[in-house]
């Protein structure tokens, strides 16, 4: 396996608060890695720095040996990083189809016209939204908006996909479908970094997990080992359970 994404010494300070403190880990091509940790431990901030939404205070992010740090989010997107957001971000006034076409028209493939339409429909089919392609995005339910957001991220044809609690709020049936979907991405060679609190999904999807607490990495290894780690249990449940 070759290393695809390499995060080293990544640090973010908001004034006096160090939200992320020297996070270092790397991901191989096609790996599905869980980024875990209690609320406020800095997981989303790490994703934000990888996608370019926030500039890091220190540290670097490399993709395929190329430095992403310091690039604007649109340049990073063109290098092959796509994401979903913790609080789903849709383009409310556009149609569901246009929401996906947006990623095709300006992304790495620069598709337009009927080619883009067909491709967008295929991505919507993949998340089960093809029959609602011509509706206005704001009319979708929250779950469907999440699906659409994933279709948009997939349309970008990413090398690395960042999912920020994408499985949160799904019912058991939807969760099953969602897990299968993410698993199929990993099989197709997409590298997935997912921030997730749904532990069933983490166990089913992630061969490896990185755990953060208070901005620092406290564990990195096989999922089963990491979840049994005394420090991880302490971070999640408190000292008396360790």
């Amino acid at each position: 396996m070759t290393t695809l994404l390499e995060i080293s010494g990544l640090t973010k300070q908001f004034g006096g608060l160090t939200a992320v403190d020297g996070v270092t880990f790397s991901m191989d091509k096609g790996e599905v890695v869980g980024l875990l940790g209690p609320n406020g431990s800095g997981k989303t901030t790490v994703l934000n720095m990888v996608s370019g939404l926030l500039p890091p205070t220190r540290g670097t992010v490399m993709l395929n040996g190329e430095t992403l740090t310091g690039l604007s989010p649109n340049r990073i997107a063109l290098k092959g990083v796509a994401r979903t957001f913790q609080l789903v971000r849709i383009l409310p006034s556009l149609s569901v189809l246009e929401n996906v076409v947006a990623a095709l028209a300006f992304g790495r493939r620069r598709l337009w016209g009927t080619v883009a339409r067909d491709e967008a429909l295929a991505r919507l089919e993949q998340v089960g939204l093809a029959d609602r392609a011509d509706e206005t995005a704001e009319r979708l339910t929250y779950i469907d908006q999440k699906r659409m957001e994933l279709a948009r991220a997939l349309a970008a044809d990413p090398a690395v996909l960042l999912l920020d609690e994408w499985l949160a709020g799904l019912n058991p049936t939807e969760l099953r479908i969602g897990i299968d979907l993410v698993a199929s991405l990993g099989e197709r060679g997409v590298t997935v970094l997912l921030v997730e609190h749904v532990m069933d999904a983490v166990r089913a999807l992630c061969g490896r997990c990185v755990v953060m607490n208070a901005g620092k990495t406290i564990a990195d290894g096989r999922t089963a080992d990491v979840l049994a780690d005394a420090e991880v249990v302490r971070a999640y449940l408190g000292a008396e359970h360790a």
Partner: protein, 307 residues
């Protein structure tokens, strides 16, 4: 192209031809009105090109309009007319690029205030220059252009502007603008170079507005900063685009025609209360029809059909 599209293009072409022959069946007053309407239709459509999808409310319309008019006033005696227009467009473009590069990072109300300030700044600069360097405040424009010539130029510019707006609405850059208007974070993560798209549209819109000012300038004969940099022009353009709907191709046009006629009637009949009525109308439109008449009727139509 299907039959419906051909019919639409046919009607548009027929209307354009009918409008082009307007001077042969309208009197001088009618032509005066048509010049005003063509001017404001172009201004409102050009304004909406940039401000409609991005929701950046610009009050800099008159800055560019005035630059166009002043360029004509300064250069009309030393350069042939087509070159004067080109020079005006070039100056408008340069100013738009400089202003755009420095301000498009501002958002919301900061952008509104900056653009308003910009128009005032340019007016004061021109005034200062004229008083201290050339020594005279006003300038005369002696160009051998009749009202028909001005009308035809404006009509052509209006048609070109609408054609551009139509093309942009269907093009990739049009989608980029809509995405930016909805959510800039998503736009950036889709790979859109936000600053470049905004700058391109701001510059295009500004160049058209500059040309409107340049073409209309000979109508005044006498030009001074207080006339060509009158902020009312910015406000009228804005309110016309908003009334019709700044996100629709025909929205600004549908707002500009009735409002121009209304203002014309108001200024003739209530010259002393004109500004007050204008202000009230402005408030009413923003409150009652925030998305414009077109979107409003569409909503009514949909609701009617849903029953």
């Amino acid at each position: 192209m299907n039959a419906k599209a051909i019919a639409a293009w046919g009607i548009a072409a027929a209307v354009l031809v009918a409008l082009a022959f307007a001077p042969s069946y309208l009197g001088p007053y009618g032509i005066g009105l048509m010049i005003g309407i063509a001017g404001y239709v172009t201004l409102a459509t050009a304004w909406a090109l940039f401000s409609g999808p991005t929701r950046y409310v610009s009050l800099a319309t008159v800055a560019f309009f005035g630059i166009g008019a002043y360029t004509v006033a300064v250069l009309s005696e030393s350069l042939p007319y087509p070159l004067v227009l080109l020079a005006a467009a070039a100056i408008g473009l340069v100013v738009a690029l400089v202003v755009g590069l420095s301000t498009l990072r501002l958002a919301g109300v900061y952008f509104v205030i900056f653009t308003f300030g910009l128009a005032e700044l340019i007016r004061q600069l021109v005034t200062w220059y004229e008083v201290n360097v050339t020594g005279t405040l006003g300038r005369y424009i002696f160009l051998d252009l009749g009202p028909e010539d001005i009308y035809w130029q404006l009509l052509a510019l209006a048609a070109v502007t609408l054609l551009l707006a139509w093309w942009i609405g269907r093009s990739r850059i049009g989608l980029a603008l809509k995405v930016i208007g909805d959510d800039e974070v998503v736009a950036a993560h889709c790979g859109i170079d936000i600053a470049r798209v905004k700058l391109a549209l701001f510059a295009l819109s500004a160049v058209i507005i500059t040309l409107v000012g340049a073409i209309q300038a000979p109508r005044w004969t006498y030009v001074e900063p207080a006339i060509v940099f009158n902020p009312t022009i910015s406000f009228l353009t804005l309110i016309m685009a908003l009334l019709g709907g700044a996100n629709r191709l025909w929205g600004p046009l549908l707002g500009a025609v009735p409002l121009f006629l209304l203002f014309e009637w108001l200024s003739a009949n209530f010259p002393n209360h004109y500004s007050i009525i204008l202000g009230l109308l402005f408030i009413a439109i923003v409150f009652v029809l925030p998305k414009g008449v077109l979107a409003f009727t569409e909503k009514l139509w949909k609701r009617g059909r849903a029953r």
